[in-house]
């Protein structure tokens, strides 16, 4: 199996889906000739032409709105927000229209749109290029939010998102784009949306996380294994709706649960995970459920020292894991 980077997996999935189904098209800022500011749509313009790879104005509301309209008429748009931070002008379109249309029309209409957006910090991007925005959308039934951690998951889940008949927000960690590499099959495959994945089997503590933090947890787990601490790591992959069964199973396995995100702590995805665990796992719990997250300040600071303080890293995760193991 060839080893490719996280962003190459994005490009591959888009390309293969566009080849497979001519209803699939891409729209967004600079996604055409330029191939995207991160090069996620590199080569698509040359292969599929300007009718299927649309450069749009700097108007996120329009990108989402045009996409939703096209989706309702039977197309399979993949809209790109240049940064997840820029998604805010499109929130009304996404929440009021895309998320609600199936319910509102009693199943007569649907909006099979995929909205891709690079999120996350640790790239010295400061306020408008570092945010995690998943929690904003994570209580909107009708939406799905996918946040993969590995190139394999990216390809399988992006294909599944495009083929899904409802709107999917597909958040890609921008620091993972070139940092994370992994084996990805060349043949066509999809992965189920709404299903978490055990990334490491272990028996002492359970770490539940998603996105880039999965890799921090895996690195920390390797170190801790040398000390005899055996960590079980669950990658949520889909953060809304959550894979409750997977969470309950992973939490019950060790009874000591650490939840990790680089998003702000209060009201985040992991808070909901924590609630699921407390509702279902009381008699298996051996320690208080712990959350490790970014501080509750508006966004990732620019100063490198402050960014480091805000941003999750393997050392912070390792420390929290060891602390829980020793409890």
């Amino acid at each position: 199996m060839p080893v490719i980077s996280y962003i190459q997996a994005v490009t591959q999935a888009l390309k293969e889906e566009m080849q497979r189904d001519e209803k699939v098209f891409v729209l967004g800022e600079d996604v055409g000739k330029r191939g995207g500011v991160f090069r996620a749509t590199d080569g698509l313009y040359d292969e599929f032409g300007e009718d299927r790879v649309l450069d749009t104005p700097l108007a996120e509301s329009a990108i989402a709105g045009v996409g939703i309209g096209a989706a309702m008429y039977g197309m399979r748009p993949v809209a790109e927000m240049q940064f997840a931070d820029f998604i805010m002008p499109a929130v009304n379109q996404i929440i009021s229209e895309a998320a609600k249309i199936r319910y509102r029309s009693n199943n007569d209409w649907q909006a099979p749109i995929t909205i891709r957006a690079p999120y996350g910090g640790g790239v010295h991007g400061a306020l408008y290029h570092s945010q995690s925005v998943e929690a904003v959308f994570a209580n909107q039934p009708g939406l799905k939010i996918v946040m993969p951690s590995t190139p394999y998951d990216v390809k399988g889940l992006l294909k599944a998102s495009i083929r899904d008949n409802d709107p999917v927000l597909f958040f890609e960690h921008k620091r993972a784009y070139r940092l994370i590499k992994g084996e990805v099959p060349e043949e066509d495959y999809t992965l189920p949306i709404g299903k978490a994945d055990v990334k490491r089997e272990g028996s002492d503590i359970t770490v539940i996380t998603y996105g880039l933090c999965v890799h921090f947890a895996l690195q920390a787990a390797e170190k801790l294994a040398e000390e005899g601490i055996d960590a079980h790591i669950l990658d949520l992959r889909t953060v809304y709706p959550l894979d409750k069964e997977g969470i309950i199973e992973a939490a019950s396995k060790t009874g000591k649960v650490l939840l990790v995100t680089e998003d702000n702590k209060e009201g985040g995805i992991i808070s909901e995970v924590s609630a699921i665990i407390s509702e279902n796992c009381l008699f298996d719990l051996d320690a208080p459920v712990q959350r490790l997250a970014g501080p509750d300040v508006p966004s990732m600071p620019y100063a490198p020292t402050m960014e480091k303080h805000f941003m999750m890293n393997p050392d912070k995760v390792e420390k929290a894991m060891r602390d829980l193991a020793e409890f």
């Binding site: 940092l179 028996s203 002492d204 005899g228 060790t254 009874g255 000591k256 009381l282 008699f283 298996d284 719990l285 051996d286 320690a287 020793e326 409890f327």
Partner: protein, 441 residues
């Protein structure tokens, strides 16, 4: 000779790894600090990696062609002096992970674990998580008989799972579960840890008519349990020396009035004794130590507890760093601490960190006493009354001021020789104290 690691350096921003193209050294080569040891290729630059130390290359851990992350080990180097890498560290140390059941069977498997940690924080021993409670109920496990491996002695779910897996389940109605335990703890309640005898026992004494019953509470109770703990746990030994403090008495008498005027508090004999003890402890740190089960800890700081009584209460506040204080400084501390004790204003901070205790028993007129060691210290010194006595000196008969110093020592920590030398030194210091040689300030 010590061992140091040389790790892949950061060769430019955003470079996360480098590939070793050529090693420029071989094991056994001597290198100076900053000498190039390898050529490394990264996405951005090709560079030479300099040695971080002067020494002899021990082992090339990474091979040519290997891609190594920034901060990961490239090679080991032997350097002068102690290195930061211990020899064992390079060898895998997996004792803990080795299968936890030696051939001897279940009883063996439990024993060594108990002995290896005789004294530790057991504060969370009885904090049971829902998982532990559930499993204990389902399998009828008596948690009092389970050792916890968690923080503060907490019993973890894993501890219980291991017990269930082993099949050796301690139930509450069963007598001590195995032979080893039966031998250790004859008829006593098997649940009580060795620390427990501190509980004062209740002999069968009835109060008759006219007798006054005083409930044992608070400080009295704490004193009782501490004393029981000290006397049952510490094998006490005892010795006494007689010291001629005639010159010291003269010195103190000459200075005391002026001192009181100047400083506003009294210059007591006790301050001189504390000073002498602090000085001698510096020379005999063996006395300034504590028994810690599998080791003896010699304390660096000399913090002297002094006993201060108030009604039915006894406090032992601390004169901190007594070895760094003048006689005046010690006198001041004594005055302050005694004052605080009498007004009930001592804080726990005033009482913490003592390393040795000096007790002014002489203030009651006592001439000889056997102190109970202030647990977990190694010794206590009782300063008795100064008494004028006829003494032979240089063939002459004279009236001298004599005082007895009584030392109780923890015989696990100390033997007669060092304790005797220490006492002799205290005696020597005290006998040399005089107007000509001793400064109060």
């Amino acid at each position: 000779m010590g061992l140091e690691k040389i790790n892949m350096p950061q060769l430019g921003e955003s470079v996360t790894e480098g590939t070793i193209s050529t090693w420029l050294v071989q094991p056994g080569d001597s290198v100076n600090k900053y000498d190039p040891i390898a050529e490394v290729m990264t996405d951005k630059v090709n560079a030479e990696v300099p040695s971080s130390f002067t020494g002899t290359i021990k082992e090339l851990v990474a091979q040519e062609g290997d891609t190594i992350e920034v901060g990961d080990l490239m090679c080991h180097i032997e350097v002068e002096g102690a290195g930061s890498v211990s020899e064992e560290e390079s060898a895998p140390q997996k004792e803990e992970k080795a299968p936890a059941e030696p051939s001897g069977g279940k009883a063996d498997a439990k024993e060594p674990k108990k002995e290896s940690k005789p004294k530790k924080d057991e504060g969370n021993k009885k904090r049971y998580s829902p998982a532990v409670m559930t499993l204990a109920q389902e399998h009828d496990i008596d948690l009092n008989q389970v050792d916890g491996s968690g923080r503060g002695g907490r019993i973890t779910r894993k501890d219980i799972e291991k017990i269930i897996e082993s099949g050796d389940i301690p139930t509450s109605d069963e007598a001590p579960a195995n032979e080893a335990e039966a031998q250790k703890q004859a008829p006593a309640a098997p649940s009580e840890a060795p620390a427990a005898p501190a509980q004062p026992s209740a002999p069968n004494v009835q109060a008759g008519e006219g007798d006054v019953e005083i409930p044992v509470t608070g400080v009295r109770k704490a004193i009782a349990s501490n004393m029981v703990k000290s006397t049952t746990e510490i094998p006490h030994a005892w010795m006494m020396v007689e010291v001629d403090v005639t010159n010291l008495v003269e010195l103190r008498n000459a200075k005391k009035n002026k001192f009181k005027q100047q400083e506003g508090y009294s210059l007591t004999y006790f301050a001189f004794f504390v000073k002498a003890v602090a000085q001698a402890l510096k020379e005999y740190p063996e006395l300034n130590s504590m028994w810690a089960g599998d080791k003896i800890i010699q304390k660096k700081a000399i913090n002297l507890n002094i006993a201060v009584a108030k009604d039915d209460q006894l406090f032992v506040p601390v004169i901190r760093d007594a070895d760094e204080k003048s006689i005046k400084g010690i006198a001041k501390d004594i005055t302050e601490l005694a004052g605080k004790a009498r007004q009930g204003k001592l804080t726990s901070k005033d009482m913490e960190g003592g390393t040795f205790t000096v007790n002014n028993t002489g203030s009651f007129g006592s001439v000889q006493s056997m102190g109970v060691i202030n647990h977990p210290q190694a010794a206590i010194l009782q300063v008795e009354s100064i008494v004028k006595k006829p003494v032979f000196q240089n063939g002459m008969f004279g009236a001298r001021d004599m005082v007895n110093l009584c030392l109780s020592l923890d015989h696990r920590v100390l033997d007669g020789l060092v304790a005797g030398n220490f006492l002799a030194r205290v005696k020597e210091i005290l006998e040399k104290m005089s107007e000509d040689h001793t400064s109060i300030y």
